[in-house]
Amino acid sequence: MSADDFDTIRLIEALLFASADALPEKELARYCPEGVSVKDVLKRLETDYSGRGVNLVERGNSWAFRTAADLGDRLRIEKIQARKLSRAAVETLAVIAYHQPVSRAEIETIRGVATARGTLDVLIEANWIKPGRRRETPGRPGTWVTTEEFLDHFGLSGLADLPGIDELKATGLLDKRPAIQTLTEPDESADDDADTDDQTGSLF
């Protein structure tokens, strides 16, 4: 480790420490001189802080310092009382998080019920979901995806870190097509974007 490298490490450490929000990796890369990889710097910081009271954590493609989760109960800091979400909102958020990108019609197929007005509103306002890419299928339906704030809120380093997602994948439950299609046709979309039929409204 050269003095130059350590200088960059200090700078990035300070930047991350100063900010309350996670900082995108590509933003941080701009502070790295020629020949210094931002990934190496972040790995090094991650190691330095592992096991300490404050950790460097990944949030999607962004990074932030956060207090270690195991200390939560003992920190007598003003805690923000989370707003209680309706069952429908929790369920809709789970569908978006685990099945993303997902259209509103698909959310309704999976939940078996029309999305009540205001359910998505609450999630947008909490900054947990945002519009994703439109599907290149007839009607070009819009999709919903989760945000980086969502990952940060639940302490997830990425979507692969969602609790239970591997089990869902393994049991084929991440298929977002109407149920009857899942029996007869292979799921070509895998867990990525799909060309599902958006004219649902039928039960399956």
């Binding site: 930047l15 420490f17 100063a18 900010s19 309350a20 929000d21 933003e27 701009r30 932030a64 310092f65 956060r66 207090t67 270690a68 989760a69 939560g72 920190l75 800091i77 805690k79 923000i80 989370a82 309706s86 069952r87 429908a88 929790v90 369920e91 958020l93 789970a94 569908v95 998080a97 685990y98 999976i110 939940r111 078996g112 019920v113 029309a114 947008i124 306002e125 900054n127 945002k130 519009p131 940060d152 809120h153 639940f154 302490g155 997830l156 969602l162 609790p163 239970g164 997602i165 869902l168 049991t171 439950l173 298929d175 149920a179 009857i180 899942t182 029996l183 007869t184 039960l203 399956f204």
Partner: protein
């Protein structure tokens, strides 16, 4: 794995409940649609969700809907659609399968429904697990005293996507309201009828049918049949009002030979009032 208490903690206290007789409480407000009812019923079968008996489930669901009907509870269309679909599925499951390869068999349809139920169950579970995760500002914390450092952010304006969309939504809503202006309608007034009648009455000898004084219809002005009818009626009403007014002033006499008979008017021979007025 997820614990029962986590599921219980996640579930709204107002959610579906089972009473002592093992029957689903008919609190429809508590359910998130027919699949939710089926899921609750399936949990009651107390078996692995991969081994649900769809036939038993269909019967329980139909019994549930029947009870709701007896109690005259209002059921949303979704519930009734599911009921008729399940009744259909039940009859097909009980009958020998017809040899038609075109559409899904009853067994396949049952499997699809079981999949739908399991998928919703899986979402319930991961939803609970998600909210059992440590959460920011509660279990772990960000820097409490962020230092004001400019990280080459291009904008310092605080505006979220939500605000932008809400602004456009408000603009559109305002546009909608503007479409609700009511256009003034072309109707005849008593004033114009008096003017018209006064001008015409002197030029006509003897008794003349009231309808002769009605203004002629201008085909260039009016489009719909409904409008035409309204304008016609307003013309008759205005002309009749004008006739009464002019009769009162002693300008005209009115004659009607019986109820619902044609009404005649003439210029009053004297200004001493009408010599004969009919019933109006």
């Amino acid at each position: 794995m997820i614990t029962e208490s986590e599921i219980a903690a996640f579930e709204d206290p107002a959610g579906p409940e089972i009473d002592e007789d093992g029957q689903l409480l008919l609190d429809l407000e508590g359910y998130g649609g027919p699949i939710d009812v089926l899921l609750t019923l399936a949990r009651e079968q107390k078996v692995d969700l991969t081994k649900i008996s769809i036939l038993a489930l269909a019967e329980q669901y139909l019994a549930f809907i029947e009870r709701a009907r007896k109690l005259k509870l209002e059921l949303a269309a979704d519930y009734l659609v599911m009921a008729s679909w399940l009744a259909f599925l039940k009859s097909r499951l009980l009958l020998p399968e017809p040899e038609d390869e075109g559409e899904p068999s009853a067994a396949e349809m049952a499997d699809a429904l079981a999949f739908q139920i399991r998928r919703l169950e899986s979402i319930r579970q991961v939803g609970a697990r998600l909210f059992a995760q440590p959460q920011i500002d509660r279990d772990f914390f960000r820097r409490g005293a962020p230092e004001p450092i400019q990280i080459d952010r291009k904008s310092v304006f605080s505006l979220g996507l939500f605000d932008l969309l809400a602004a456009y939504g408000q603009y559109l809503a305002r546009q909608d309201q503007k479409l609700y202006t009511i256009e003034p309608f072309m109707l005849h007034s008593v004033e114009t009828a008096i003017e018209r009648l006064s001008q015409m009455i002197g030029r006509l000898p003897g008794w003349t049918l009231l309808s002769q004084f009605l203004p002629s219809y201008d085909p260039n002005k009016v489009e719909s049949g409904e409008q035409r009818r309204l304008i016609g009626r307003s013309a008759v009403a205005a002309m009749f009002g004008a006739t009464l007014e002019l009769a009162k002033r002693g300008v005209v006499n009115i004659r009607q030979d019986g109820s619902f008979q044609p009404i005649y008017i003439r210029s009053s021979p004297s200004n001493n009032g009408p010599d004969r007025t009919g019933t109006a």
